[in-house]
Each structure stands twice: as structure tokens, then as C-alpha cells.
């Protein structure tokens, strides 16, 4: 237990804290935040495209792929809540930012066409559902802030 306590006390979470502070969408952090989300959304979309035709018999892969179709929107919901808590005076700017983040999400899906023609691209249908979720969350956060 003592060893575990010392390990935890000495651990460094600095990179995650830094990224967390960037994703609070403070003034001057929007570009870095958009960059971080772009990388994340590309990673999610490409992983989803890859997993789409792999391991069809696996329930875990299937659930993962289902979650991935809406995961960027769920991430934006968390970002809005985190940013609303960190900067309650910027809730509407944050909401506009979250809506703009759908651009890299869509671009990631379309980028898969660079690999092959028989992919589905960015699913605007599910993105629309995601947009409704994000807008609703943004409105609630704005009301509470």
C-alpha cells in the first residue's frame, strides 16, 4: 500500500491537465482545442472505418462501432460541460465552437474516401442527431451558467 501511495503521489498527469485546460475553451485556447479535437475525431473515424468490416462475429467490436458513430458528439457534450464550468461567461462562444467542430468530424469521414471508394463517408444522418444533442446540451449549460 505504501508503495502504491508513493507511486500515486509521485505521478505526473501534467499532459492530461494541460489538454484539459485547453479543452476548457478559454480565450486563446480555441485553436489548440480545435486541433486536439480534429486529431481525436480523425482517429475515431478511421478506427471506425477500419472496424466496420472486421470481426463481424464479435459483440464487443459491434458495440464499439455503434458507440463510435456518435462518440464525437458525446465528446463535444463533455467539452461543453467542462468549458461551461471553467468559463461560464463564454457559453455561447463555446457552443459555436462545438458546432464548428462538426467540420473536422465530417472531414474525417470524407477523408476515408482517399483510401477506397466503398466506404460510407461522414454519416450526416448520425451527425445531425449529434448536432441536436450538442445544441441541447449547449442550451442547458447556457441556462445553468
Amino acid at each position: 500500500m505504501e508503495i502504491a501511495r508513493k507511486l500515486l503521489e509521485g505521478s505526473s498527469w501534467e499532459p492530461f491537465e494541460r489538454i484539459g485546460s485547453v479543452l476548457a475553451l478559454g480565450e486563446g485556447d480555441l485553436l489548440a482545442a480545435m486541433g486536439a479535437l480534429t486529431v481525436l475525431f480523425f482517429g475515431i473515424e478511421f478506427a471506425k472505418v477500419y472496424l466496420m468490416i472486421e470481426r463481424g462475429e464479435s459483440v464487443r467490436v459491434h458495440v464499439t462501432v455503434n458507440v463510435m458513430t456518435i462518440l464525437p458528439a458525446l465528446i463535444l457534450v463533455l467539452v461543453l460541460i467542462h468549458a461551461g464550468a471553467g468559463h461560464p461567461d463564454r457559453v455561447w462562444i463555446n457552443l459555436i465552437f462545438a458546432v464548428l467542430a462538426f467540420v473536422p468530424w465530417y472531414a474525417a469521414g470524407q477523408a476515408a474516401f482517399l483510401a477506397r471508394r466503398d466506404v460510407e463517408g461522414g454519416d450526416v444522418g448520425f451527425m445531425s442527431i449529434g448536432l441536436l444533442i450538442v445544441l441541447s446540451t449547449g442550451a442547458v449549460v447556457a441556462a445553468i451558467a
Partner: protein, 379 residues
């Protein structure tokens, strides 16, 4: 795994929907992606050796502070060299190097992200940022190549290829199908027409779930839809009435029609392949797949094709057909249709909905052409 060695039989159909014709962005040719692997292999191996040998004069010239701990730098160069070797092995045999590409994506992606992070937050010299950006570009290239190398048989079939038959003569086809809302049943009629135009005699075998209260349409409640949705996401199997497929039969072609329920093939269709007793019906026969859905067809198609191959069938063609219209109208049309059971309702949402539900007339004609192409395949 592809059944046998496919030879293409013409006529080649036009590329299918679902992105094959939905994007003006042409895919990057495989030979370019392969060449890119060689380029980064040379860069990684050569760059690592160069940094090890000429680090001091190079850093002094560029104004980069020498590393406080030279050992870590040597280890980093060694890892970079190994990454270069990895890229070289991908270049040598791409189809068998998909796992190496995954390692490369993680390695280059991690280096790139940390380089950018430390450049922004810790004042890392721009020289290392350039290396990081280079690795980031190649992580992206590796990811594209990995996706491109997946399932080449599906890519060819979706590009319109129909493959040679197994040499049988009978010219009898069986179509196994399931249809909750009627779209699948309509597509089967057109497929049948196409096969019959090519001289085939066609028998249809509807797949009937035992849980008729659950798998019925129109839905009686939201709970019914949520139960189907939950089971589809969690891949809970459905029980179907015995198909009574004769093991000894003279069908030379078996076509399976399927639809997508939450990304994957519908449970009633999958139930056909969960009964090992049906294996004999498919074994050794030519098989084809059509998927009819709103818009996400890739996983359903791959699942049915692989099930057929597992049952010993020889898949000669596969096509996917999306509902009429564009997103997001298509998704809202699906949701409204499932909720109301009628196309174009509720009326106050008409501006958002497609006037008809299901496949367009053009798509149904494509289905018929697919049937004709299957009938015309060289046996």
C-alpha cells in the same frame, strides 16, 4: 478470405452506392501509398543514423541545444530506425503487413502528438516539430493504407465485379430474404426479375422470426423499437422458423438479402447462419449478397459475405443499396416512417422528409441489373 480465385465476368456493373459514387475524391492509388512507405523507411533509417553520427555539428548549426541526457537520444534514434525498418517491411509485402501498419500508426502518431505538445507547451525546437509533423503525415498515410488493404474482395465486388460461377448448369436460384418494412421484399422482386431475364428459375425463401410480436411492423410502441434496437446493438440472436432448406438441391446460386439494423445485419438474417443445419444448403454453391438499408451497409455486407464463406459458399457478387435521398433527410425519413408506419408523415415535418420511403426507382433498376449480371456470369 476469398472463396477460390475470382475471375471477373463481364458485364461489370457500375460502382455501387454508399460512397462508391458518393464522393468526388478519388482514392489514392495503392502504389503511391506503398511508395510512401518506402520514402518514410528511408527517412527514418537514414535520419536516425544521420542524427547519431552527426548530431553535434548538426545541432550546433541549427542552434538546437544538445540533449542533457545523450543516452535517451540514442535510444530514441534506435526506435526511429526500427520504425523505418517496419515501414520497409510494409513496402515489401503490404497485404501481409497490416499488423505492422497498426504499429506504425501508433508509433508515428504518438511521436507526432508529443512533438506538437512539447512544441506548444515546453518550447521544443522547431526542428523536432518538423519531425513530428512528418510522422503525423505518415501516420495518416499508414491509416489510409491499412483501410485500403482491408478486404480487397469486398472492394472489387462493390466496384461492380461479378465473378465466374462454379461451373454448374442448372440455372436455378434461391433467394433468402427478410423484410420488416417491405423494402427488402420489394428489392427481392426486382432481383428475381433480373435473374429471370437471364434464364434463371427463382425460388424465394422468406425468413420468418418466431417472435412475431417483436419483429412486426408498424410498431405498436416505442418500447418495441427500443427492444429491437437494444438487441441489434448487443447482437442478441433472433429465433426463426426452420427454413427447411434441402441439403440436396439443384440451385446453382443462392442469394441472401439483408438489411442493416444499428450498423450490423438484422438478427433474423443472421439467425440463418447461426444454425449449422443450414450449412449444407450453401456449401459448394455460388452465393451473392444484397444489402438494403438507409445508409450504413458496410458492416452488414461484410458480415453476410463472411458468414457465407464460413458455410463454404463461393461468393460471386455483393451489392448494397441505400434509401432514396440525401442525409439528413434520409435518417429523419427513416425515423418518421418507423414511428408512423406511413411515408410522408407527420405532415408538419414534410419539408424535412423524403416523399417516399425506401429505394428509389433508379436503385431498384440497379437491383434488377445486378440480378441480370448474376444470371449472365460465366458458369
Amino acid at each position: 478470405m476469398v472463396s477460390g480465385s475470382p475471375d471477373v465476368w463481364r458485364p461489370r456493373l457500375p460502382p455501387g452506392p454508399g460512397g462508391c459514387g458518393g464522393s468526388r475524391v478519388p482514392p489514392i492509388p495503392g502504389r503511391w501509398l506503398r511508395l510512401a512507405c518506402l520514402v518514410t523507411a528511408l527517412a527514418n533509417c537514414g535520419g536516425a543514423l544521420g542524427l547519431l553520427l552527426f548530431q553535434r555539428p548538426l545541432f550546433e548549426r541549427l542552434g538546437i541545444p544538445l540533449p542533457l541526457d545523450p543516452h535517451y537520444f540514442v535510444w530514441m534514434a534506435g526506435l526511429s530506425f526500427a520504425n523505418g525498418l517496419l515501414a520497409y517491411y510494409v513496402y515489401r509485402d503490404p497485404p501481409r503487413s497490416r499488423d505492422l501498419l497498426k504499429v506504425g500508426i501508433v508509433g508515428k502518431g504518438f511521436f507526432s502528438l508529443t512533438a506538437v505538445y512539447y512544441y506548444i507547451f515546453a518550447g521544443l525546437h522547431g526542428f523536432f516539430l518538423l519531425m513530428g509533423l512528418w510522422d503525423g503525415i505518415f501516420a495518416f498515410i499508414f491509416a489510409l493504407y491499412l483501410i485500403q488493404l482491408q478486404a480487397p474482395d469486398l472492394a472489387r465486388m462493390n466496384a461492380g465485379e461479378v465473378w465466374e460461377g462454379n461451373g454448374s448448369v442448372p440455372r436455378r436460384a434461391a433467394i433468402l430474404f427478410y423484410s420488416l418494412t417491405g423494402t427488402g421484399r420489394q428489392s427481392v422482386l426486382f432481383l428475381k426479375r433480373g435473374l429471370e431475364s437471364g434464364g434463371y428459375t427463382v425460388d424465394s425463401f422468406p425468413i420468418r422470426p418466431i417472435e412475431r410480436d417483436l419483429f412486426s411492423f408498424p410498431f405498436r410502441s416505442l418500447g418495441q423499437f427500443l427492444r429491437i434496437a437494444g438487441r441489434a446493438i448487443l447482437r442478441r440472436p433472433a429465433r426463426i422458423e426452420p427454413l427447411r432448406l434441402p441439403a440436396e438441391h439443384d440451385y446453382d446460386l443462392v442469394v441472401v438479402e439483408a438489411q442493416t439494423w444499428f450498423v450490423g445485419v438484422s438478427a433474423p438474417v443472421e439467425a440463418v447462419f447461426q444454425d449449422e443445419g443450414n450449412r449444407a444448403f450453401f456449401e459448394g454453391r455460388d452465393a451473392a449478397v444484397i444489402v438494403v438499408c438507409r445508409g450504413l451497409w458496410r458492416r452488414s455486407q461484410a458480415m453476410v459475405v463472411r458468414h457465407l464463406e464460413r458455410f463454404g459458399a463461393r461468393v460471386v457478387g455483393s451489392r448494397a443499396y441505400e434509401h432514396a435521398g440525401r442525409e439528413p433527410s434520409r435518417l429523419f425519413t427513416l425515423a418518421a416512417y418507423l414511428a408512423t408506419g406511413e411515408a410522408g408523415r407527420p405532415r408538419w415535418l414534410r419539408w424535412l422528409l423524403q416523399p417516399r420511403y425506401g429505394l428509389s426507382g433508379g436503385a431498384l433498376e440497379d437491383v434488377e441489373r445486378f440480378g441480370a449480371a448474376l444470371a449472365a456470369r460465366r458458369s
